[in-house]
């Protein structure tokens, strides 16, 4: 396609109900040639179009090491996501991308990894988590902390079980409000994080979640002794083009769609809080 805004056609091949308002969709490109050249890295995003409704931005939920299909986990929040939730297996959508930067795993080598996810933020962290599990030998200890509002809102239940089974991986789950069957922890992510008291030495923290959670998690991490250049986060912004042209996702002169969405906190800290 000559036009950089033209999407490639893809088909919904599988829909997984994660929670009451989150579904995971698996897409397959209709043109296999397109898919061969469609290489992404954990942390990047794509733009999905539902024809007749519009486009929206989503992160890849599966890493490049598991590329049987393209997977996105999508929460129903607005016009486009609502239309996506209406999709059925076999429906056609448009995909363009991949856009943005990725998690700098080459810089994480031989380090401990600490993943902290809040709410739907787990969708953005699933691909780096699974990528690190697939290249397990490169890193030391892997710790995952995932918090959701309630036990009903926990995504990827079956995958989490598999993550727990992997060797030398520590998974902690927490919810804001538990119920009788809930056997894991109860409490807000930053508080649980402090209770876990992970060693800051030789560890990279990778965090994603709602703005308030990120704010307090950053505070907790710095109290635990994490330095700013050992914290990585991925930002969410309204984007339309993904190409650094439409002019809305900037923080100062950086465009989240091109210079982000993955940022070291040391860089982010010096930017004004316009995200």
């Amino acid at each position: 396609m000559s036009n950089i805004y033209s999407p490639n056609m893809a088909r919904v091949v599988e829909i997984i109900n994660e929670t009451s308002d989150v579904k995971s969709f698996r897409f397959e490109f209709i043109d296999q040639e397109v898919y061969k050249n469609f290489a992404w890295k954990a942390g990047q995003f794509l733009i999905l179009s539902v024809f007749g409704v519009g486009e929206a931005t989503f992160t890849f939920a599966n890493p490049q090491t598991r590329r049987q299909f393209v997977e996105c986990s999508i929460r129903k929040v607005g016009l486009v996501t609502e239309a996506i939730h209406e999709l059925e297996v076999g429906d056609t959508v448009g995909i363009r991308g991949p856009y943005g930067n990725w998690f700098p795993f080459e810089e994480f080598k031989a380090k401990n990894l600490l993943f902290v996810a809040g709410g739907i933020g787990i969708a953005a962290l699933r691909s780096p988590i699974e990528y690190s599990l697939d290249t397990r030998g490169d890193y030391d200890k892997i710790t995952i902390l995932y918090g959701a509002r309630s036990p009903m809102d926990i995504c990827y239940k079956d995958k989490i079980v598999r993550w727990q089974d992997s060797s030398n991986v520590d998974v902690t789950l927490t919810v804001d409000r538990g119920n009788d069957e809930w056997k894991h922890r109860v409490g807000l992510v930053p508080i649980i994080l402090k209770e876990m008291n992970p060693a800051a030495e030789n560890t990279v923290a990778i965090i994603c979640g709602p703005p308030t959670m990120i704010k307090f998690t950053l505070k907790a991490l710095s109290e635990l002794g994490f330095t700013d250049d050992n914290i990585v986060t991925t930002l969410e912004m309204k984007m339309k083009c993904g190409l650094g042209k439409c002019g809305r996702c900037n923080i100062e002169n950086l465009y989240i769609c091109k210079d982000g969405p993955v940022f070291y906190y040391s860089k982010l800290k010096n930017l004004p809080e316009e995200y």
């Binding site: 036009n3 950089i4 805004y5 007749g52 929040v77 969410e236 650094g244 042209k245 100062e252 316009e274």
Partner: protein, 368 residues
């Protein structure tokens, strides 16, 4: 001697003389003159193969770039059109593709070839806008064909300004004057009953190559040109110290200055829509029936609340202050950091048409 001889008024066989001329002097003479009558004939000739956009009076006090069918529709008296020329190449609603659900699945149809066009009577400030857009739409490894397909087929014939308005400040920009050529393909400088023609690009040269309406410029013409430049420069308002302003803006993000200065702004999209350089856009869907539709790129404005509002309701630039600051900062700081040029041509439309009289010159000068 030969030089003087060649400058005798010629009325016939110009083309041949030109080629001789160029050869003999061993350099390309890129300046011609054209009489008003010949200009009329030239435009009417060009109309046969091109769509010609030119300033046209559409209602009292409103002059806009419109397709013209003859030279007579061109309004030469208007100093500035109400909206900028950007919509000729970067239309407000720009169809990216059409889609249709067929038995073979979803089919995309991109627009067919665009026709050759000419923007005639463009002011240098509008023409400069295109040179800024060119850089933007070919940035970070993505070349935007939906823009360049039009841009490449458009020849811009600018006519230099003879007198600035009280809102103009194009002289604040480096190397800028009434006869600046950036972005134009041909620049016409009015000199009484004729125009001095400066050829800027290959595209412009193509138009003069035909040659039958053009005469080579004389030394006297060049002198008159200098006089005109001089007299227009004198009429220009005082220059903004943009270097200083940029330095001030670099540290002004958190400044309480923005708390005050945004107050009169009512957050309409006017300033960004009439601007020759504001490029921000939205990609939107226009459904036609159940299975067909088109996807458009439409102008969007950092002034509107919806611009950055996300589906969940979070809005990084939710209040008036942040949006106002974004516009100023983008034009005079962020864009400079990325492209080393200001995202402004000093046309002054945002000052002239702002319903609440916000003067970006004053806003910039006060920023600390």
């Amino acid at each position: 001697m030969l030089f003087v001889l060649l400058l005798q008024p010629t009325t016939y066989n110009l083309q041949q003389k030109f080629s001789v001329n160029l050869l003999l002097l061993g350099m390309s003479i890129m300046e011609y003159t054209i009489t008003t009558n010949n200009l009329r004939s030239l435009i009417n000739d060009l109309l046969k193969e091109h769509i010609v956009y030119a300033p046209k009076l559409v209602s009292a006090n409103t002059v806009l770039y419109k397709t013209i069918v003859s030279f007579d529709e061109y309004d030469s008296t208007a100093l500035m059109t109400n909206t900028s020329a950007k919509s000729m190449i970067y239309p407000q609603t720009n169809r990216l593709f059409e889609f249709a659900k067929t038995t073979d699945g979803m089919v995309l149809k991109e627009d067919e070839e665009v026709k050759k066009s000419i923007i005639f009577g463009c002011r240098p400030c509008d023409a400069k806008g295109f040179s800024l857009l060119d850089n933007l739409f070919d940035w970070k490894g993505y070349r935007d064909e939906s823009y360049f397909s039009r841009r490449d087929k458009t020849t811009i014939i600018s006519i230099s300004c003879t007198a600035p308005q009280s809102t103009c400040f194009c002289n604040s920009f480096e190397d800028w004057g009434a006869t600046s050529k950036v972005g134009s393909d041909l620049l016409l400088i009015p000199m009484g009953d004729k125009y001095l023609v400066e050829v800027v690009t290959e595209k412009g040269k193509k138009i003069t190559e035909d040659g039958k309406y053009f005469e080579p410029a004389t030394e006297r013409d060049a002198a008159i040109k200098q006089e005109i430049e001089q007299s227009v420069a004198e009429l220009m308002p005082k220059k903004l110290k943009l270097g200083e302003i940029k330095e001030n803006l670099d540290t002004a993000f958190e400044s309480p200055y923005w708390d005050r200065v945004h107050l009169p702004c009512l957050k309409c999209n006017l300033c960004t829509f009439v601007c020759p350089t504001c490029y921000c856009f939205d990609i939107s869907e226009c459904p036609k029936g159940y299975s067909n539709g088109e996807r458009n790129r439409t102008w969007d404005s950092c002034m509107s609340e919806q611009f950055t509002k996300m589906a969940g309701g979070v809005n990084p630039r939710s209040d008036s202050k942040r949006r106002f600051r974004q516009r100023v900062m983008h034009k005079f700081r962020y864009h400079v950091d990325n492209f080393n040029e200001y995202l402004c041509t000093g046309c002054g439309r945002c000052i002239k048409y702002c319903p609440v009289g916000i003067d970006i010159r004053r806003v910039l000068e006060g920023a600390k």
